[in-house]
């Protein structure tokens, strides 16, 4: 095991995937000599050359559309979208082409494209640099969508995403790029948990707290704080948000009877809405309280100095926990429509 930052773990994941398979190439803006704006592709140009580390023109649809053509030709492009809010110009190519070509061609054309997106807020960035667009992609059939929360998963799941014959949207929380953790660089991918499997990050018995990516660390802190009040929270790091590992989720909910979901993205029609709808369908008779969502507000991402008021923090999560436990909370006495 090696101590690595998430950024370095992803770099290692890319490097090893490129060593293992010469059809893997990385492409994006500034990923060559600069090593990417987050230095995730640092050193790859020197090692693999410009044919496999492709500094592209500044055009997201162009990057994605040419990746489709490369996949058509049998390559496995790993595309870097420089920031979450820059993925929208590529949206058409992702949802109409990347996601659907396998279906449209009855499986004859594979789209093994990995779309890496430095993602979400909490880093004090400028406008359009802190968005959480995951629900758009979860809603699109044909894509797999994952969000990593620690260096080990980042390393292993990236390699799994690249090895997958399906397109994978790969969300990397920017605010965790410099967090360190143990990474087993020698791990055999065949022995690793599949990309679609959720991880029980912390066992508990009173409340199931569902989350992914950037919010896992916050959820863990909330669980630790709740323990001081005698509340046992089970934290599930979904890892994959399309598909969701409902086997793990429902087993937990049936045990605890109470569910809180937290994510940075806005609430309306978000991943949390889908999670709660599905959990309610699957576990209605086990629920002791109405599930609760703790999310970003339904607002455009606010200016950096205000983002702390938008992002779910430990206290807002604990407030949600109080609500499902019917303890005094921010909604006490409020009559909901």
């Amino acid at each position: 095991m090696t101590q690595l930052t998430m950024a370095k773990a992803i770099n290692e994941g890319l490097r090893r995937a490129m060593v293992d398979d010469d059809k893997v190439l990385v492409m994006g803006e500034d990923i060559g000599k600069l090593g990417g704006v987050f230095r995730i592709t640092d050193g790859l140009l020197d090692e693999f050359g410009a044919q496999r580390v492709v500094d592209t023109p500044l055009a997201e649809a162009g990057i994605m559309g040419t990746a489709v053509g490369l996949a058509f030709r049998g390559y496995r492009p790993v595309v870097e979208i420089q920031f979450d809010g820059f993925v929208y110009p590529a949206f058409d190519q992702i949802v109409c082409q990347v996601a659907k070509l396998h279906y449209r061609t009855r499986g004859n054309v594979k789209m093994p494209i990995t779309i890496r997106i430095p993602w979400a807020g909490g880093v004090g960035a400028a406008e359009h640099h802190s968005e959480s667009p995951e629900a758009y992609f979860v809603h699109t059939s044909g894509l797999r969508v994952v969000a990593v929360s620690n260096p080990q998963d980042a390393y292993v799941m990236l390699r799994q995403a690249i090895a997958s014959d399906d397109p994978v949207v790969f969300f990397e929380p920017k605010r965790l790029y410099h967090s360190k953790g143990e990474v087993d660089l020698g791990a055999d991918l065949a022995d690793a948990p599949p990309m679609g499997l959720a991880r029980i990050a912390r066992e508990g018995s009173d409340v199931t707290l569902l989350t992914y990516g950037s919010q896992v660390a916050v959820a863990m802190d909330a669980a630790t704080a709740a323990e001081d009040e005698g509340i046992s929270i089970e934290v599930i790091d979904l890892r994959s948000i399309s598909p969701v590992d409902y086997r793990t989720v429902t087993a937990s909910v049936r045990k605890t009877g109470r569910v809180v979901v937290t994510h940075e993205a806005a609430r309306e029609a978000g991943v949390g809405a889908e999670l709660i709808a599905s959990v309610t369908e699957k576990c209605f008779n086990y629920l002791e309280a109405a599930p609760v969502r703790i999310t970003g507000h339904d607002i455009p991402y606010p200016p950096a100095k205000l983002e702390k008021h938008h992002l779910p923090d430990l206290d807002r999560i604990l407030d949600g926990v109080d609500r499902v436990l019917d303890r005094p909370n921010s909604m006490s006495g409020v009559i909901e429509p």
Binding site: A67, G69, R73, Y75, S164
Partner: protein, 377 residues
């Protein structure tokens, strides 16, 4: 045509259909064009007859498609009448291992590449989104999103570069698509990476009801040099000029000189699709003018002038077209819809738990009807 002196671009150039390169005029007479003619020096009477046959077959597929749609057998059809020259001419220039990325209207390209009768109708009938395996005929599934395939062609060409082969990729799109960001980004990527790709812009004058003047105030071929891409503006109703220009473009790309661009000036004689009513937005005179430029009649006249359009040849081509038309019709009428559970096929290459669960539930739902049928309910 001058494309470099763009300080005062002239609007009327965009709509000028005479200032184009051609080898056969409207009367079917060979005309000189030193740029083009050297690329078709080998095209003898037999080869010309072959091009005539191709175009006639394509028109027959098109006629059959429209008829089938009107009879309720197809949900929609995108006619290509009038565009047989550019489609057949450019496609006949390909090597078998080149790869084409067509739009939904390139019936002639699909035909030349080897599409089978069912391939023209099964998707429009709504049985599948596509029919042939793209790798069998080195032609991508026809694209509906306007211009999206131009980027795919460039990406494919970038793959060719990495594989070190001398194949070429080609993207077909219309004048309307030239307004799309994808097409412009495709030209930037192609130029920057010197990708072996050919862009074929079929300027058929109309993007549904929007005339080309809404897309362009200067000839579309004039844009390519601005990206560093050489271009030609040709008469798209001249199959020989289309063949010659495409051979030039393919040779340019194949020999490592990077992308090339062709604007083929032509006309969509019918509606945009069978849902469209062109009488609402264009006048009869315009259509009549273009009828006189018919790409098939033009080659027929040329062949007659060379005593190569005898009754036997004419009858043979007609019989060939009848056979193909009948086969297209039979493919449409004989189509068998997949089982309902088939809607779940091929969404993913690998197992997907969420979809597997939905599939299982739907299968159970469907089996309920079978159980009802068994007990006679």
């Amino acid at each position: 045509m001058t494309t470099m002196h763009t300080l005062t671009p002239q609007t009327d150039l965009a709509t000028d259909v005479d200032d184009v390169a051609r080898l056969v005029n409207e009367d079917g007479e060979r005309v000189a064009d030193p740029e083009l003619e050297r690329w078709v020096a080998d095209v003898d009477v037999t080869a010309l007859q072959g091009l005539y046959r191709d175009m006639t077959l394509v028109r027959r597929i098109d006629t059959e498609g429209i008829a089938l749609q009107r009879q309720g057998q197809l949900g929609l059809w995108a006619p290509c009448q009038g565009q047989e020259g550019v489609q057949v001419g450019t496609a006949r220039a390909f090597r078998a291992d080149d790869f084409a990325f067509p739009s939904y209207r390139e019936i002639g390209v699909q035909h030349v590449r080897g599409a089978k009768p069912a391939d023209f109708v099964i998707a429009w009938r709504g049985e599948e989104h596509s029919t042939y395996n793209p790798y069998d005929i080195n032609t991508a599934t026809p694209q509906i999103i306007i211009g999206a395939q131009s980027l795919h062609a460039v990406g494919y060409a970038m793959g060719i570069q990495r594989d070190g082969t001398d194949q070429v990729a080609a993207a077909y799109f219309g004048d309307g698509a030239s307004s799309q960001g994808d097409v412009n980004e495709a030209m930037i990527f192609a130029s920057s990476f010197r990708a072996p790709v050919v862009f074929v812009c079929t300027n058929n004058q109309w993007a549904i009801s929007e005339p080309v003047t809404v897309q362009a105030k200067f000839p579309i071929a004039g844009r390519a040099p601005g990206f560093g891409i050489p271009s030609m503006r040709i008469d798209g109703n001249d199959v020989l000029a289309s063949l010659a220009a495409m051979r030039w473009a393919l040779d340019h790309a194949r020999s490592g000189k990077g992308p090339a661009f062709i604007e083929a000036v032509t006309y969509r004689m019918g509606p945009h699709t069978t849902s469209d009513d062109p009488t609402r937005y264009r006048d009869k005179e315009e259509v009549e003018r273009w009828k006189r430029r018919d790409p098939i009649a033009r080659v027929e006249a040329l062949l007659r002038s060379q005593n190569a359009f005898g009754d036997d040849f004419q009858a043979d081509v007609a019989a060939d077209a009848d056979r193909l038309g009948a086969a297209v019709r039979a493919a449409a009428l004989g189509a068998v819809s997949r089982q309902p559970i088939g809607v779940f096929d091929h969404v993913y290459e690998e197992p997907h738990t969420g979809l597997a669960e939905q599939r299982e539930h739907f299968a159970a739902y469907l089996s309920g009807f079978e159980a009802d049928a068994e007990v006679g309910r």
